[in-house]
Symmetry: C2
Subunit: 304 residues, 2 copies
């Protein structure tokens, strides 16, 4: 790393180019004690690179994705993480349980069992469940929701035997048609509460839930059920690709301390994972992304 | 109109280019008795052109927008509509009541009073209220919602004296930051129910509410409060500009008969307004758009 690169990294945020408001917290800074990098935030990094990046920046936890994990195998990934002394705050992702076609459904359930096995091997705090959208050509939203619930119920005993907690992720309604028919935290809790809390929890992702008029009430209701707390911002104008529309904390409209305090009042003391899908973030140098998110975490997530 | 144009209009839907599934209902067809054209669906048409287009197609009602109405003045617009024998199913739109700055707030309230005067002059069934998003730079969503509620409360007596029914429009959460902090039908009803039902109702727009796990329950709760029922589809992939992401009924994922039946069970017997903001729809010939929406209304909205 050149001095010039280091200096830019320390003085300018990515992707905004705005001046850094605070020095980057150094490894060992107690404010980093719960900060986790979801590896899709630094999309071009392999598991090994992301683990090394966390260590360089002093982040104690990482959220992994199945595809990069599978490139080296779950046991190799588990060794990398353990050797680095990191926690796995989540594995993304199981789910996609809405197919009506029996063979597609069977295939989805099989794939979820593999995801559960991988989460067990990685000792992940939870397996994030993105439940899936409407099947091609279908307009039967209630039916898709029913099949999704049935699929979760079918997977819970398998996951429980392996000590893997399923984390139901309510997704922003922008994704209801094509990605996640679980649309609110209340709806996720309605389903989660059919099972023991240590077997099925929920994800509170600020991007997905910030708009909900009942979000604080539902976070309160989620006591003991919050398996993962993920942060990223809602930015406007919304980028053209809805899947890549997430922003760096502080670049958008979300009041993070409000939601973090609510999650903590509900008893959550686990890692806080930064998950940003955004073409501009992905185009930036991953070490710059990690430095920026550590600063923004300190300035925009942690303050009371 | 050339025979060739007529023939294409009758055989191909816009903007999809898909073959028409049914003949276009002719003027006088009883299936058109409740169909209304929201004039933004044919964005390039003036009020006079849109009124003439409705008459040509046999549509008995029109939803007007303030900007084109103001081009000729509300009284001239009212005469055009009355002379054509059309109903005004709605006037779009009042609202934008979330400003914290006192002078902006006063300006917004003044503008809403003008909108109410225009709705009265047009004898519109309701004034649609798009309540506004977060003020520039603000992350205080609860505060914006409170100011919005206060603004509605301030406008109700003025509207009631003029016989204008305010119609609160819950907007898809995709618009929460920049357009409408009223995000669910339940939230809209919580506010509407503070006032008499003939003074404050709600809009049920399929695009905004279709994803809501509680939509059928809330439509049932809205008995006597539904001031407007608007239809358009949720299409994927979502077009790049979120504001222009609406689709022609049948091109997307919404189960229209399900929502129409629910609205009717809740006592709504008024017009069904087609409101589509979409660059491809706007690029098509407006008469083609009206012919397509009449066919799609018959095939995708009316069936039981």
């Amino acid at each position: 790393m050149t001095d010039a690169a280091l200096s830019t990294r320390e003085t300018a945020d990515v992707p905004s180019g705005r001046p850094a408001e605070v020095p980057t917290p150094a490894p060992g800074d107690p404010r980093l004690a719960r900060l986790s990098l979801n590896q899709r935030t630094t999309e071009r990094w392999s598991v090994a690179e992301a683990v090394a990046g966390c260590v360089r920046a002093g982040l104690p936890a990482i959220g992994l994705w199945r595809e990069p994990v599978q490139e080296i195998g779950a046991s190799a990934a588990a060794r990398l993480v353990a050797d680095a002394g990191l926690r796995v705050s989540s594995l993304c992702r199981g789910g996609f349980l809405t197919a009506a076609d029996p063979s597609r459904r069977r295939h989805a359930l099989d794939d979820n069992r593999r995801a559960i096995d991988e989460a067990a091997e990685l000792d992940a705090a939870c397996l994030v469940m993105v439940v899936g959208g409407l099947p091609e050509g279908s307009r039967d939203l209630a039916g898709a929701r029913d099949r999704m619930s049935d699929g979760i119920a079918e997977l819970v005993p398998y996951a429980a035997r392996r000590g893997v907690r399923l984390a139901l992720e309510p997704m922003h309604p922008i994704f209801c048609a094509d990605r996640g028919v679980l649309s609110t935290l209340g709806q996720a809790l309605d389903l989660a509460e059919r099972f023991p809390a240590d077997e099925v929890g929920v994800v509170v992702d600020t991007f997905h839930v910030w708009w909900d008029p009942d979000v604080l009430g539902q976070i309160g209701r989620a006591r003991g059920r919050i398996a993962s707390f993920q942060v990223c911002d809602w930015i406007t104008p919304l980028p053209p690709d809805a899947l890549l529309s997430r922003g760096m904390m502080g670049d958008g409209h979300i009041d993070f301390p409000l939601l973090r305090r609510a999650v903590e009042r509900a008893g959550y003391a686990g890692d806080i994972e930064v998950e940003i899908f955004n073409a501009d973030v992905w185009a930036a140098d991953p070490d710059d992304v990690v430095a920026t998110l550590a600063r923004r975490y300190v300035t925009h997530v942690l303050p009371d």
